[in-house]
Symmetry: C2
């Protein structure tokens, strides 16, 4: 057993990404694929270059289709069980880039039904409030209002249920159990839910009456899910298999913890006061040495340093700057406190800007929402 | 093991109703309960008197509430997997009587989702066509258009899904498995479906924002279903437990068979040409003797005679006439052919009249339908 676990429900510990690629049987995003992307988008997104998005299934096929004038659509989602943190934003930021550069539609599923059924203590009101708050964060990222369709399952269920019954018809309890680890104690709503999550892969094809390729940008823990249900079922229903592009996980601020709303210090939330976020990053796990002397002598380790990871994976777009920071930190020229200060400034700027956009998202909200 | 099986999916062989009452733990409808009904409805329906509806759960409680001016509603349903036969009509005829006499609302669930998911070979179009045809039969029975709400699950799913997720949250796979006999090979749509069927028990309470007692008239095979899910969950969600009133099954025309659209001679369908129905009843299983001489000498057995059972359970409302027929048949004065002729005439009259009403139901159809 690895000392980490990756399932669609939770990620814990240090993740061995190479092993995930081997175990899941996905492909690395290599230079030739990156070159193909560059041809269409100009300079590729820093998350691609830095291998934050590092693995895929059939992304090359998506580009084949695109090059033959067959546009794909993007599908991602959010389970509204708490406030949004930067780890959630990471794949959505990349999704926004894909939408903009390829000029494609995005279907964004809010799984309010799943979260309500998964956690007995969550009330419908709580899930509804989290949904609203999470959607503000999504809209704030700059998605195209004419090409972005955000829907809560409970509000779009008439359309979704139709496709879901097509899927459910072909998915046995065994199959769902082997993918999600359902038990006898699992509730029957959660057992059905995989068909709703898979349904979005085929939603635009259903709506438009023609087969449209689907690309899912998501953290790699979701891979099993799509492989086991949507990709298995697609040919039976006459649809294309959904393609995927996989990201790594933004680490928690405390090592060995999971980012969680119940432990506010593990993550930076989009609604954190910038000064609160500053304190969080300053008390985060460091890759620096115990004393200044040792640090100057041996250098720090950016690979396990939360502040550095936040800069590298999400906050510092400038490749030159991040290379400089990394080099100086490894060399011991940049102290842990100084690195944290750089990250804190970046986070504060990001949050102020995001919170401003989040506020104006309240006005454009309805333009993004799909309802039956 | 009994030589019959009763589950919500199928009924085969001769049914030992006393044993079902014992096994399920339901109560007989006794004379004092019948007297209470009579107080409100006048002369009770022949199906009550003849113990076609013979068992119940909490029907006395329904009357308690009714007598305190708290009206109940009726809930029944239909799985649209084929044409309607007289066995389906039996509980609906009784339901129409209850509606009329107690002046109550009826919610009629068409489980088009279930039938579509249950049978892989059924297309959505087929289920949709069966739904339409079945609903015509329902409307033809004379339900009050102002108090009758017929809905297909797929068309009313937004409302139903909300209640269903409340229910599903509390129903484990174990529970559903023990009631419905789900296997690892069962599909995940069928596993979720019990929450949709239970949801109707709480639908009017949800729609009207107050607790409304629910009475389900249905064949006794459904009892386990309501006991195991809806009655278990009701207190957890703050609703009344649904009450039930149970009927026996109209037997198939051929002994030991199950009424089925795939074996047209096992049942009389509402769309059968009257002359076709006549032929069916004439070739049905008889309780008469092998020769006229023996019959005259020993008499016939109405208890196993299909023609007699059709008259007794559904077609001959007149108590005097049915007693006469029974007496004469047992005494050997009425021959099997003569009994069949009586039943054939009744069936022809019934079908002609039903088919006329069924035709005009096409005009009033929309008035009965509930959609999101």
């Amino acid at each position: 057993m690895a000392d980490y676990s990756v399932t669609p429900w939770e990620v814990k510990g240090d993740v061995d990404y190479d092993r995930l690629v081997r175990d899941f049987g996905t492909s690395y995003i290599d230079q030739s694929l990156m070159n193909r992307v560059e041809k269409h988008t100009g300079k590729p997104h820093f998350m691609l270059k830095r291998k934050v998005f590092f693995s895929h299934r059939d992304f090359n096929w998506i580009l084949d289709k695109y090059e033959k004038d067959e546009k794909f659509f993007l599908y991602t989602g959010r389970g509204p069980s708490g406030d949004t943190h930067l780890g959630h934003l990471l794949p959505w930021i990349f999704t926004q880039y894909l939408q903009e550069k390829f000029g494609v539609e995005l279907y964004f599923q809010i799984t309010d039904d799943e979260k309500y059924m998964h956690d007995r203590s969550l009330t419908r009101k709580q899930v509804s409030d989290f949904s609203y708050e999470n959607i503000l964060d999504i809209i704030a990222l700059g998605f195209d209002p004419d090409k972005t369709f955000i829907f809560k399952n409970t509000e779009y269920i008439k359309t979704m249920y139709k496709i879901s019954t097509d899927i459910a018809k072909h998915v046995t309890f065994s199959t769902a159990k082997s993918i999600f680890g359902f038990q006898n104690s699992s509730n029957i709503g959660m057992i059905f839910f995989p068909s709703l999550q898979a349904a979005t892969c085929f939603l635009p094809s259903e709506l438009k009456g023609k087969n449209i390729p689907c690309l899912i940008p998501a953290a790699i823990d979701q891979d099993d899910y799509w492989r086991g249900i949507a990709r298995e079922i697609a040919p039976k229903l006459g649809y294309y298999k959904p393609a995927q592009i996989h990201s790594k996980f933004l680490p928690a601020l405390q090592r060995g913890e999971k980012m969680s709303a119940s432990k506010p210090n593990t993550a930076i939330f989009t609604t954190d006061e910038p000064e609160v976020a500053e304190k969080k990053i300053k008390s985060a796990f460091t890759g620096g040495r115990d004393t200044v002397e040792e640090h100057r002598k041996h250098g720090g380790n950016p690979d396990i340093d939360s502040a550095f990871q936040y800069l590298y994976m999400i906050l510092e777009e400038d490749d030159k700057k991040i290379e400089e920071i990394e080099r100086d930190y490894r060399a011991g020229n940049l102290l842990s406190g100084e690195l944290k200060q750089i990250a804190a400034e970046k986070i504060k700027i990001f949050l102020k800007e995001h919170q401003r956009k989040r506020e104006s998202a309240k006005k454009t909200f309805d333009k993004f929402i799909l309802r039956d």
